[in-house]
Amino acid sequence: MSSLDVTTDAARRPFPGRRARLGDLVLQGSAGIAALGALVLVGLIAWKVVQGARLSISTFGLGFVTHVGWDPVHLKFGAGSFLFGTAVTSIAALILATPIALGIALFLSELAPRGLRGPITALVETLAAIPSVVIGLWGLIVLAPILRDHVDPALHSALGFIPLFGPPGSYGSNVFTAIVVLTIMILPIIASISRELFLSVPSELKEGALGLGTTRWEMVRGVAFPYARGGVAAAMILGFGRAIGEAIAVGLTIGSATAINANLFKPGSTLAAMIANNYQGASSGLELSSLIYLALILLVFSILVNLLAQWIVRRAARRQGLMAR
C-alpha cells in the first residue's frame, strides 16, 4: 500500500471531527447552491422572455418571423426586416473582419519583430475593450459623415452595377456604416483568439515544414492553418455571435428604418437595435410583446451560435489530442 493510496483514502473519508464535517457540508452546500443558482438563472431568463412574448406569439405565431413591416397603428408586427438586417450586418462584418483578423494574428505570431509583438497585442486587446457606446458615438459623429460624403459615393460610382451599392442618398446613418462599426468591434475578438491558436501550433510541426524548404507562407498555409482551423472557425463564430447581439453601436449608426433594401447605403435596422430603440415607449401591449418576441428570436440565435462555437472547439481539441499522439 503506497502513501498515495493513504492520502486518497483520507480524501474520501473526511476527518471524523463534527466541526470539520459541518464545515465541509456548509462549503459544499453553499457552493452547490451557487452552481444550481446559475442553472436556475438561465432558466429564469428563458422563461421571462417567453412569458413576455406570449401575447405576440399567440397573435402572430411563427409567421411573425418572416413578416416584414412594423405597423403600430394597424397592429401588424413582424421580425422579417430585423432578421434580414441582423443577418446582412453580421455576415458582412464577419466577411470583412476575418481576413484582417487572421492577418493580424499571423503578424503577431510569425512576422512581428520581438519588440513590436507586446505593444501591438496590447493595442488589439485595447480595441476589444472599448465599450460599444463609445464606438457607436464615434461611428455616428466621426465615421458617418466621412462615409456619407466620400466613401459611399465613391463605392457607388465604382461598384454601382451591384445592387448592394446603389445610390447613396444623403443618409449618414445606414447599413454600411453599421457594418463598418461592427467590423471594428469583432476584429479584435477574432484576432486575439486566432493569435493564441497560431502560437499554440507545436513548433516541431512548424520547424519541420520550414526545414523541408517551404516559405513561411507555405508553412502557414499547409501546417499552421490546418492545425488551428477548428479554433479559427470557433473564433469567427464567436465574433459573429457578438455582432448579432450588438444593440447600442448598431442602434446609433443604422438609421432605424423597417423596410428591406438591397442597397447598403439606405438605413435599416437589426433585432437588437430595434429592441433598444423602441422598448421604452411601445404604444401598445401587443407592440411591447412583439419587441420581446424579437428578443426571444435573438436569444435563441445567440445561444445556438454560442453552442456551435463550443462544439467546434471541443471537436478540434479532440482531433488535436489525436494528432499530438
Partner: protein, 302 residues
C-alpha cells in the same frame, strides 16, 4: 549568357522566385492588417481624446449635470459627476454580487462536482455568456423593474449577471492550475475539505481571481443596454442611494450623443475619454496581476 547547359537550373529558380514572391506578398498583407488595426484603434482613441480633452476639467468630474434635455443656451450643464457617482455605485454593487457567487460556483465545479455536473455547469456558464446584454437588460426589467421600479440595485443585478460567467470561468481555470499535490498534502495531515479549499487552495489563486474580477469590471463598466432598462429615469443632482435609479457614464454618453447641441457632444466625448482611461487602467492592472499570479503558482508547483 549561354543558354543550353543552364536551362536545367532555370526551371526550379522560376518556381522558387514565384514562391518567394507569394511569401513576400502575404507578409505584406499581414503587415497591412496589423496597420489597419493600429489605424482604427488610433483613430478612435484620437477622436475621443481630441474632442473630449477640451471639456475635461475638475468641474466636469465634480459637478453634476444641471438639467437633462440637450438643446440651446437654456442648458447650463457643466459636469457629469452624477454619472461617475452612479457608475461607481452600480459597478461596485455588481462586483459585490457577482464575485462571491462566481467563486462559489468555481469551487463547486473544481472541488466537489462529478464530471456530469461539471459539464452541465460549464455549459450553463457558456450559455449565460452568450446571452446578449440587451436581453439580460430586458430580463431584469421584467423581473425587478416592473414590480419595484428602477433602481441602482436592479442595474447592478443586470451587470452582475453579465459578470458572473466571466468571474466563474477565470476562477475555474486558476483553481485547476493549483496542483493536486497541495490538496493531498493538506488532507494527509488531517485538514478537513473546507479548510483545505478556503485556507490553502483559494489563497493560491487570489491573483487569478482578482484578474478575472478586474477584467469583468472593465467589461461591464461600459455596458449600456442593460442600464437603459433598469437605471435610466434619474433625478437631477448627484445621488448615491442605490434604491433609486442612478445616472451612469455609458447611459450619459448614449443620451448626450442623441442631442443636437455640439456642447453635449463635447461632454459625451469627455465622458468617453474618462471611461476608456478607466477601462485601459483596469485591463493593464488585470494583466499585471495575471503575470504575477502565474509566476507565483509556478513557484509553488516547482
Amino acid at each position: 549568357m549561354r543558354t543550353g547547359d543552364l536551362s536545367v537550373l532555370q526551371r526550379p529558380n522560376d518556381r522558387l522566385r514565384r514562391r518567394r514572391v507569394a511569401n513576400r506578398g502575404m507578409e505584406l498583407l499581414a503587415w497591412l492588417a496589423a496597420a489597419v488595426a493600429v489605424f482604427f484603434l488610433g483613430v478612435v482613441v484620437w477622436s475621443v481624446a481630441q474632442r473630449g480633452a477640451s471639456q475635461l476639467s475638475f468641474d466636469f468630474l465634480t459637478k453634476p449635470q444641471q438639467a437633462s434635455g440637450g438643446f440651446g443656451p437654456l442648458n447650463v450643464k457643466q459636469g457629469l459627476a452624477n454619472a461617475f457617482a452612479g457608475s461607481f455605485v452600480i459597478v461596485g454593487l455588481a462586483t459585490a454580487m457577482a464575485l462571491p457567487f462566481g467563486i462559489l460556483i468555481a469551487i463547486y465545479v473544481n472541488e466537489f462536482a462529478s464530471r456530469l455536473v461539471r459539464s452541465a455547469v460549464g455549459l450553463t456558464l457558456d450559455v449565460l455568456n452568450g446571452v446578449p446584454a440587451i436581453v439580460i437588460g430586458f430580463f431584469v426589467f421584467g423581473l425587478i423593474v416592473v414590480a419595484h421600479g428602477q433602481s441602482a440595485y436592479a442595474g447592478a443585478f443586470a451587470l452582475a449577471v453579465i459578470m458572473l460567467p466571466l468571474v466563474a470561468r477565470s476562477t475555474i481555470e486558476v483553481l485547476a492550475l493549483v496542483p493536486d499535490s497541495l490538496r493531498e498534502a493538506a488532507l494527509a495531515v488531517g485538514a478537513p475539505r473546507w479548510r483545505t479549499t478556503l485556507g490553502i487552495v483559494l489563497p493560491q489563486t487570489i491573483g487569478g481571481v482578482l484578474t478575472g474580477a478586474t477584467l469583468a469590471v472593465a467589461r461591464v463598466a461600459g455596458e449600456t443596454a442593460p442600464l437603459l432598462f433598469t437605471s435610466s429615469l434619474v433625478a437631477t443632482g448627484t445621488h448615491w442611494n442605490p434604491s433609486q435609479a442612478l445616472q451612469t457614464v455609458p447611459v450619459a454618453i448614449f443620451e448626450l450623443s442623441d442631442s443636437a447641441d455640439p456642447a453635449d457632444h463635447a461632454r459625451a466625448w469627455a465622458a468617453a475619454l474618462v471611461l476608456i482611461l478607466f477601462i485601459l487602467f483596469a485591463s493593464l492592472g488585470a494583466r499585471w496581476l495575471a503575470t504575477r499570479s502565474r509566476r507565483k503558482i509556478a513557484r509553488a508547483a516547482g
